[in-house]
């Protein structure tokens, strides 16, 4: 085996370009700062962080430690240009993420072996830890269904997790979906999904947890603790398709697109809200089916039945029973 390995090394070296390059991955240094949602530092949070490297032997750069009184924790080591981390503390939801903004100091394109240190050198990454406040039971489900008919508004009951009669056993049209489609070939089709509501003050608003850039962090509690009081739109429309004119659009998942909604809103004579149920949707609302008889509809929703704006879900108290493992959401 030693002989094979040695031969292999020589074969490999013969394959290299003959540029003069330096040994090992460049060095990076990065500091993580754990902060509250109000920006104040969190001391003694546990940070697990590592600088990624393709070499096993050199790759065990993960370090674990506690943030100092300023909420800081620093690591340094060889990397191909990426850091990964997670920060935890009792009473807080874990936050984890990637840092991928290391760049070569000598140009836009990174040529390994031509520099020793990544820039920026020792950037400070602020990581917000959200407090665990009041997780409550909710109706939470990864919904995978089909819109019973194309071109017709049809109500969906979030508590029954079913379409309303005659398409299902739902009783209340919390969401009203209407899917339309033009064209029925993969090369030329366009779908419009419209979401409306039964009550005047029901509505939905988008919530984007991060820009779609390379470096980011995510809290396990993706969305705010509480739903906002205002800002709900009475309808929401998604268009997607693949046409010769427009090409493809909105076909993929928008990972960081989320929603907060309000349903079953009861108002007084003055239009003031007396009672409403709030909920959230993690991820995008997906639909499609260029040629299928029905359009599919997938989204992950959480509905808080207690009438408050609380959006913290207690994973151990899902009000839906008998969900399969794929139907059970695993985020709070």
């Amino acid at each position: 085996m030693k002989v094979i390995r040695t031969i292999f090394i020589f074969i490999m070296l013969l394959s290299f370009d003959c540029r003069t390059i330096e040994a090992g991955w460049p060095i990076a240094k990065i500091t993580f700062k754990a902060v509250e949602e109000n920006g104040s530092a969190i001391e003694a949070a546990t940070v697990r962080a590592g600088l990624r490297s393709a070499l096993t032997g050199k790759g065990k750069l993960l370090e674990e430690g506690l943030t100092d009184k300023n909420g800081l924790f620093t690591i340094e080591g060889e990397t191909y240009g990426e850091a990964v981390y997670s920060i935890t503390k009792d009473g807080y939801y874990e936050s984890h993420g990637y840092y991928q903004d290391f760049r070569s100091p000598n140009g836009k394109i990174i040529k390994y072996g031509t520099f020793k240190k990544w820039v920026p050198w020792n950037p400070t990454v602020e990581v917000i830890l959200k407090k665990i406040k009041n997780p409550v039971p909710m109706y939470a489900k990864n919904l995978e269904t089909k819109i019973p008919e194309i071109g017709k508004p049809i109500g969906f009951d979030l508590i029954k997790a079913d379409w309303v009669e005659p398409y299902g056993e739902g009783e209340v049209s919390d969401f009203v979906f209407k899917g339309t489609r033009e064209g029925n070939k993969w090369e030329n089709f366009e779908i419009e999904l419209e979401l409306t509501f039964s009550n005047p003050c029901d509505g939905i608003q988008e919530y984007i947890v991060k820009e779609n850039d390379d470096s980011y962090f995510l809290s396990r509690l993706k969305l705010p603790h509480e739903a906002p009081e205002e800002g709900y739109k009475k309808s929401w429309v998604k268009k997607l398709g693949n046409t010769p004119e427009k090409g493809r659009f909105n076909l993929g998942k928008k990972e960081y697109q989320n929603y907060i909604f309000r349903v079953r809103t009861d108002t007084d004579d003055n239009g003031n809200i007396k009672k409403a149920l709030y909920g959230k949707i993690h991820g995008d609302i997906q639909t499609g089916g260029c040629s299928s008889p029905k359009l599919f509809l997938n989204f992950t929703y959480y509905l808080n039945p207690d009438g408050t704006r609380n959006l913290e879900f207690d994973l151990k108290r899902n009000l839906f029973e008998g969900l399969s493992s794929l139907e059970r959401p695993n985020e709070p």
Partner: protein, 1040 residues
């Protein structure tokens, strides 16, 4: 089923005979042993007047179940009084408290049932005549501490004289046997010898020597006390819950059974593999022994409760069952078919209680006897259908006594991610090196798939018997063939140790116990857990191959075996449990031959199979040994996900140029192998299997499988797992991804790219005949697959091998290795230490982005086409010197000498026309090997390009023309969802981790954070990745 001896109880007949031999004069004494006395009392009797007259001295007596009595008289304090009781039909005699003796006069006949287990499991309960005329029946087993009296004549023996007495007994029940009491006549008990025989069995000759101390009576009485026999209701018979069906594992091929199981029938209860009918060893033989006094009479038999009575050991003649519970008035000498001397065979049908009554009549006089039986059944129920719970279905399979097939635990699992899963390689898990030190623990969560749960269904039995009086022992006849762990699991969640981290963690703390013929006793805490909490699941792993059944034995307090239950089991190497196909040989031979297929030997009963076939193909860089690990582990994981389809593991040549165990340097060559192997996979599926096939392939196996499906392999559903194929192959119009473009090509027009060269040969170029160069693209190469089968894409956004290699990283060897020549000794050192050089990060992207970027073929790229620049034809410096040309051959990537034509010039069509590109592409042409591919510069030369493209399409796609989209194995394929109108993309990294989103701790403290990596479907234990396998089973409907 074979059972050890259940041999207990005093054999009444033999005891009687033995005693009577010494006491012939007083033979009638034995009758009183069947009288149930209710104390406090003292008793003795002697022959006062005549053989038929007896004197009793007691305060109170009770005769139970007296069925007849004639001529009974009592004598109180020497005064004889005729009894007012002359006939009894059950009941008791209660004497006045101040009366202490009476004489019973009359003929006594005592009939009783006295069961006996013997080594061949025959139950004998002979009727025998003890005396005359009085019948005491029933209670055949309810024998209180039994006292045999021996009246020894002492006449002529003087005071102080020593007397010896020796009795011979056939004493067949273990326990204490004691000459416990010699009445007042004996003063020197210390001279009694041999008065204890602990656990005495068999024939004994207690030798008693004593000295006469007084002379009160012409007889000396010895009391030989047998220990208490079991209570009547503890007389246990096992329910005949098997069918003695030696159902061997069946073998299927081409959808037909090659080997048929031997099926038992109700009437022919025991059939061997060879079809020979033998006795059902679960029947309990019994014999009737009727007094000669009834000669010429008749007898009747009646059964109550869930038993059947047969006249033959192999159940060909049924005597009594629920439809016919009684036969009456048969002559004792028989009716030709049956007589009173025939052996009966009792079969327990269900749990509960049962009785068998015998009544004998002659001349209007009848006597009867009965035996009472408690019927128990303690099935050992494995998770036959491996749905991770033991439920009614499994009970049903257990009741049919199906053979449970499982595998030896001989791979090398460790921790959450350790081991290669190759059977027989490394230190076998089941023979842990730590086993001898601390009894061992399970080798980590990866090892859990190699254990199987067995539910000991003891709860109902524990309500019928007092567990504290019995020992429950799990055994196997093989020598320490198994290891086991007692768990806290219940049957309904018997498989939670496979999927629930808490259960797995709890289990890993428990000690492993090995067992074989000596067995392992179920601890009291485990018995209690069964009774109180409905638990009773044990986990077992097999060390070696065996056909010996598992056995649960129940022993009574005396150590006698009273019940045995077996679980037929067949343990083999895991590779004998699935069909294996060697497509490496097929590829070498050029055809798929029968010898390339090894059929499974150890497959379950047809009840436990469905008529579907699950075919699995592993990926790149897996050699034959590694493939054994992949196929075996995948089989196990599918098994525990409930797969009942036949499993086919396919070995193929995806590892050519692999260096030792390190890695395979030439990806492209193996892409070629995949494409060339596809016809044999198709043939396997369509001709050899020819069934409803669910196909699953991992990594580069997706290339092989997709080609086979495209070419017509009949596949019902197709799971792509971490597929190492570009999205554009399935979706020809998928958008380009900048990260798949080499940065040296920044600014150049797409038409110059090798990936777009095929567009120069569309029908616009040659409308008469399709030019095969138009097919030199990955775009839509597999799009037909979506129409031919039902495709599901299981990808991981946490991939490293299929990860996106960012555009801003200049791809070169550094990306692959992280090293260069300056520190290669360091790498050599690392390798010599056994480390891995390269984990495969970005491997797939790099092999695409390095096409055309190397001077030699076969190392993560190629020297032609791709992203290589054609500096011969398009460069800013045109130095026509021999020196420079030779230098370029050696170092073609030297760009400081010659720079390519800049984008602003190259992009202009009037600068480089399409015609020119057909002859002189902007990418590296590839030397003489590919000269024919291009349109000749001279119109006089024939254009062989189309033929060259046709002949070499696979090679050109593999090595020459890069894909410009990301791989399906790391990304959603949007077209799949839209095409089918259903979400069929599953991000394993997000969706398929276990319910609590757990991930191995050892992985978290490594360099990656919770990412589902390329090989994690095998590497990470089933505990964390089970959802994906369960989803395979669900989608493929592989469990019903």
């Amino acid at each position: 089923m074979s059972r050890k001896v259940d041999y207990w109880g005093l054999t009444g007949e033999r005891s009687h005979s033995a005693i009577r031999a010494y006491q012939s004069k007083y033979s009638s004494w034995i009758s009183q042993t069947k009288v149930e006395w209710i104390g406090p009392w003292e008793r003795y009797f002697y022959d006062e007047t005549a053989p038929s007259s007896y004197f009793f001295n007691y305060r109170q007596a009770c005769f139970s179940d007296i069925t007849s009595c004639t001529s009974l008289s009592c004598k109180y304090n020497g005064e004889t009084k005729n009894s007012t009781v002359v006939s009894y039909q059950g009941g008791e005699i209660l004497l006045p408290e101040n009366k202490s003796s009476m004489t019973i006069t009359g003929e006594l006949t005592i009939n009783y049932l006295f069961p006996e287990y013997v080594f061949d499991e025959k139950l004998e309960f002979p009727f025998f005549q003890a005396a005359q005329s009085m019948t005491i029946a029933g209670k055949c087993l309810k024998i209180e501490p039994l006292r045999y009296w021996l009246g020894v004549p002492s006449v002529g023996v003087g005071l102080g004289q020593t007397m010896s007495y020796q009795a011979t007994f056939n004493y067949t029940r273990g326990g204490l046997f004691e000459v416990s009491h010699i009445p007042m006549f004996v003063v020197n008990k210390s001279q009694v010898h041999g008065d204890h025989w602990d656990n005495f069995q068999g024939t004994g000759q207690p030798h008693v020597t004593f000295t006469i101390g007084s002379f009160h009576h012409p007889f000396v009485y010895l009391y030989l006390d047998a220990p208490p026999c079991r209570e009547e209701d503890k007389y246990i018979i096992g329910v005949n819950s098997d069918n003695d069906n030696q159902n061997t594992c069946e073998v299927f091929f081409n959808g037909k059974k090659v080997k048929e199981p031997v099926v038992d029938s109700e009437e022919l209860s025991s059939v061997t593999d060879e079809g020979e009918i033998t006795a059902d060893d679960d029947l309990v033989p019994c014999h009737m022994n009727v007094s000669d006094a009834f000669e010429g009479g008749t007898f009747s038999l009646r059964k109550e409760g869930p038993v059947r009575v047969w006249l033959t050991p192999h159940k060909t003649k049924l005597l009594l069952d629920d439809n016919k519970p009684e036969i009456t008035n048969l002559p004792l000498e028989g009716n030709g078919d049956f007589n009173v001397n025939d052996t009966l065979y009792i079969e327990g049908v269900e749990t509960g209680e049962a009785r068998l009554y015998l009544n004998v009549e002659r001349n209007g006089k009848s006597e009867s006897a009965s035996i009472k039986m408690t019927l128990i059944n303690v099935p050992l129920i494995p998770d036959y259908n491996h749905d991770r719970k033991v439920d009614k279905k499994d009970e049903e399979y257990a009741s049919k006594l199906l053979t449970y097939c499982f595998w030896t635990n001989d791979d090398d699992d460790s921790g959450d991610t350790g081991g290669k899963d190759i059977p027989g390689e490394g230190f076998p898990d089941a023979e842990s090196e730590f086993m001898s030190i601390n009894s061992g623990v399970i080798d980590g969560t990866r090892d859990l798939v190699d254990w199987f749960p067995v539910f000991i269904d003891l709860k109902s039995t524990l309500t019928a018997i007092d567990a504290s009086e019995y020992r429950f022992v799990l055994t196997s006849k093989s020598t320490n063939n198994f290891n086991m762990v007692f768990t806290d699991l219940k049957p309904g969640n018997a498989g939670d140790y496979l999927t629930v981290k808490k259960e797995a963690d709890d289990l890993l703390k428990k000690y492993v116990t090995d067992f074989g013929e000596l067995g392992v006793e179920l601890p009291e805490s485990f018995i209690s857990a069964i009774k109180e909490r409905g638990q009773g699941v044990i986990l077992i792993e097999a060390r070696k191959e065996t056909d010996w059944p598992l056995q649960l034995k129940i022993f009574d307090e005396a150590g006698e075996l009273i019940y045995v239950k077996e679980l037929p089991i067949k343990i083999s190497g895991v590779e004998k449990m699935f069909n294996r196909v060697d497509l490496i040989s097929s590829l070498a031979r050029g055809s798929l031959a029968d010898e390339d297929i090894i059929l499974a030997e150890n497959t379950p009963h047809e009840y436990l199979q469905i008529d579907k076939d699950f075919v699995f193909i592993y990926g790149y860089s897996v050699n034959q040994q590694g493939g054994r690990g992949w196929l075996s582990e995948n089989f196990k994981r599918m098994y525990w996900s409930g797969n009942l389809a036949r499993y086919w593991g396919v070995t193929w040549l995806g590892y050519e140029t692999k260096i030792g165990d390190l890695f395979t340097r030439n990806f492209h060559l193996n892409v070629l192998n995949a494409l060339h192997t596809a016809p044999y996979l198709k043939e396997l599926i369509n001709r050899k299997i020819n069934s409803r096939v669910i196909l699953a392939a991992h990594s580069l196996g997706v290339m092989l499988s997709s080609k086979a499906v495209l070419d017509g392999a009949n596949v019902e559903k197709y799971f792509m797992i971490d597929g190492a194929v570009a999205i554009e192959a399935f979706d020809g119009h998928a958008e380009y991804v900048i990260d798949m473009q080499h940065p040296d090509w920044e600014g150049y027009d797409d038409r110059l790219f090798s990936s777009e060269w095929h567009k120069l040969f569309t029908s616009q170029y040659n409308w008469e005949k399709k030019d095969a160069r138009s097919s030199l693209t990955w775009r839509d190469f597999f799009s037909g697959v979506l129409e031919k089968t039902d495709v599901y894409n299981f990808y991981s956004s946490g991939e490293e091998v299929l990860a996106k290699h960012d555009y801003f990283r200049h791809p070169d060897m550094w990306d692959v290795s992280g090293i260069d020549k300056d520190d290669w000794w360091e790498v050599v050192l690392e390798l010599l230490k056994g480390g891995n050089l390269y984990e495969g990060t970005w491997a797939w992207a790099l092999q695409e982005k390095l096409k055309g970027r190397h001077k030699y073929d076969g190392w993560m790229g190629s020297p032609w086409g791709g992203w290589g620049l054609n500096l011969d034809d398009y460069s800013m410096i045109s130095l026509d010197t021999d020196y420079l040309k030779s230098y370029l051959i050696l170092y073609p990537d030297i760009d400081f000498e010659i720079t390519p034509l800049p984008p602003e010039k190259a992009d202009e069509e009037d600068e480089i026309s399409n015609d020119e590109l057909r002859k002189k592409p902007f990418f590296k042409k590839g030397g003489e090997k590919w000269d024919d591919l291009y349109v000749p510069e001279s119109s006089k030369k024939p254009d062989k390009g189309s033929q060259s493209a046709k002949d070499n399409q696979f090679e050109l796609l593999a090595e020459f023309f890069p894909a410009r989209t990301l791989p399906v194995g790391a990304n959603e394929v949007q077209k799949i969802n839209q095409f089918y109108g259903k979400n069929k993309n599953f991000d394993m990294n997000e969706q398929m981790k276990n319910d609590n989103n757990d991930w191995p701790q050892e992985r978290i403290i490594s360099q990656w954070e919770r990412d589902w990596r390329h090989n994690d479907i095998r590497v990470v234990s089933y505990l964390y990745v089970n959802k994906v396998f369960i989803e395979f089973v669900k989608i493929g409907v592989l469990n019903k």
